[in-house]
């Protein structure tokens, strides 16, 4: 069965390594924070100027001056720091953030990502996404494998305006975990429980590389 959003977040949480600084995008990536193992210590970066994002506040502790990049009220934790937007993106572009997890509308087999604009629809802007994808060494994309109408979102080439090129290394979808190889192509690593290789193949427009037995994801 295909994973729900929680399942995707749980699987990505397994990729998180101890002692790292992480930027989580809006949507499924934000959920990942809930499933990081207790024995792992990470610091979450918020592009609007906070390192060390804490949990949502108690009702009486809500502070209009303390929000995350999704404009939700948050808290600080012990060891948090605050800074301005230029410094925040200095951290991002300077390669100091170890892992970026973000959503996408499309990903190509070359690691290109499209997640900011649909021609003909209202353009809201790229926010910090272009800076993040142009800079991060380690980007994991969380997304549905296909669109609501059933079209593959893992493509040979992105059809939508792109956010960045040759940047995505790993994709976790409701159907599969895949690496994007430096020479191009989606290498299938794991299947969602009960999903067959054939189903993944049918849902993938880009080149799918299948070597040997493909294990099922292990998710609690």
């Amino acid at each position: 069965m295909a994973l729900d959003k929680i399942g995707i977040a749980k699987r990505i949480a397994q990729e998180v390594q101890d002692g790292t600084y992480i930027n989580l995008g809006i949507g499924i990536p934000t959920l990942v924070a809930n499933f990081i193992a207790d024995d792992i210590s990470v610091v979450l970066q918020s592009e609007n100027g906070l390192l060390g994002i804490g949990p949502f506040p108690e009702e009486e502790a809500v502070d209009a001056d303390l929000i995350n990049a999704g404009k939700q009220t948050v808290t600080t934790i012990k060891g948090s720091s605050l800074f301005n937007s230029a410094e925040s993106f200095a951290m991002i572009r300077g390669g100091h953030v170890d892992l970026t997890i973000l959503g996408a509308m499309e990903v190509s087999e070359h690691g290109d990502i499209a997640n900011w604009k649909i021609p003909g629809k209202m353009v809201k802007g790229m926010g910090g996404a272009m800076d993040l994808v142009a800079s991060a060494d380690n980007i994991i994309v969380a997304m549905q494998h296909t669109s609501r109408s059933g079209d593959s979102k893992l493509l040979k080439n992105c059809s939508l305006p792109i956010t960045g090129i040759h940047c995505v290394k790993k994709v976790v979808t409701d159907l599969a975990v895949l690496d994007i190889l430096p020479e191009g192509g989606f290498k299938l690593l794991e299947r969602a429980p009960g999903v067959t290789v054939e189903e993944i193949q049918a849902a993938t427009e880009g080149t799918l590389i299948i070597e040997g037995e493909i294990p099922e994801m292990e998710i609690d």
Partner: protein, 231 residues
């Protein structure tokens, strides 16, 4: 110390005239110059170019200046959450330049720091790169981006002293410090205006040299866009 105190937002913004270029601090509705925006709406100054990360919501922040059709151009990174903005954009009444957020922050910082241009990897290979010089550094491609400056920078701080030193709170800092640097005239509104000497110099975020006018703000609403609490 030089005393930069003015009485209120009306006095601080009195010489902002039609077709001026403004910078307005804030991320979403967090850390926005509420008093100066109200004063501009009251004044009705038209044809403004506004450099701000976001464009407010329909009935708050820069959204108030959109309702009164005072803005001719927005330079921002993200402009969702605003139906009036969308209407004006689609009807051609409003122009918009969308810029990657880190590039926007650095262009403003550069404007204040006397750096006319810099290279950044953000936007390479995308439509943001159209018409821009590209150069390779250490095997990676970068775009040339130029500085941004403004006739007036409108910033909001938590505390300030009468010589213009500013202290910000939480994530309300965001774009405010760089905009303070990049305004020809920087107007700071603060929740608490104190006498010179009352701020600890070790804690000052924005040195007063960047600020030309400062006033004690009032009636801060500090609206929250996504009030989220523990379940």
């Amino acid at each position: 110390m030089i005393n930069k105190e003015v009485r209120n937002a009306d006095e601080a913004t009195h010489d902002i005239v039609a077709n001026a270029t403004l910078m307005l601090g804030g991320f979403g509705l967090c850390g926005i110059p509420e008093n100066c925006i109200s004063a501009l709406v009251k004044k009705g100054t038209k044809g403004l170019t506004c450099i701000s990360n976001n464009a407010g919501v329909d009935d708050f922040g820069i959204g108030l200046m959109l309702q009164t059709r005072q803005v001719k151009k927005m330079i921002s990174s993200y402009v969702g959450e605003n139906a009036e903005f969308e209407r004006q954009l689609l009807s051609g009444e409003l122009a918009v330049d969308l810029i990657p957020q880190g590039t926007l922050a650095e262009r403003i910082r550069a404007g204040g720091a006397g750096i006319p241009a810099f290279f950044t990897p953000a936007g390479y290979g995308t439509e943001v790169a159209e018409g821009k010089e590209v150069r390779e550094f250490d095997g990676k491609m970068h775009l040339l981006e130029s500085w941004l400056k403004a006739d007036f920078a409108l910033v909001k701080a938590w505390k300030g002293d009468k010589s213009g030193n500013l202290v910000f709170k939480g994530t309300a800092r965001n774009f405010n410090p760089m905009m303070a640097m990049a305004g020809k005239i920087t107007i700071a509104e603060v929740e608490e205006l104190v006498e010179v000497g009352e701020l600890d110099p070790n804690q000052v975020h924005t040195p007063g040299i960047y600020v030309q006018r400062i006033f004690q703000g009032k009636d801060y609403e500090k609206r929250i866009e996504q009030r989220t609490t523990k379940l």
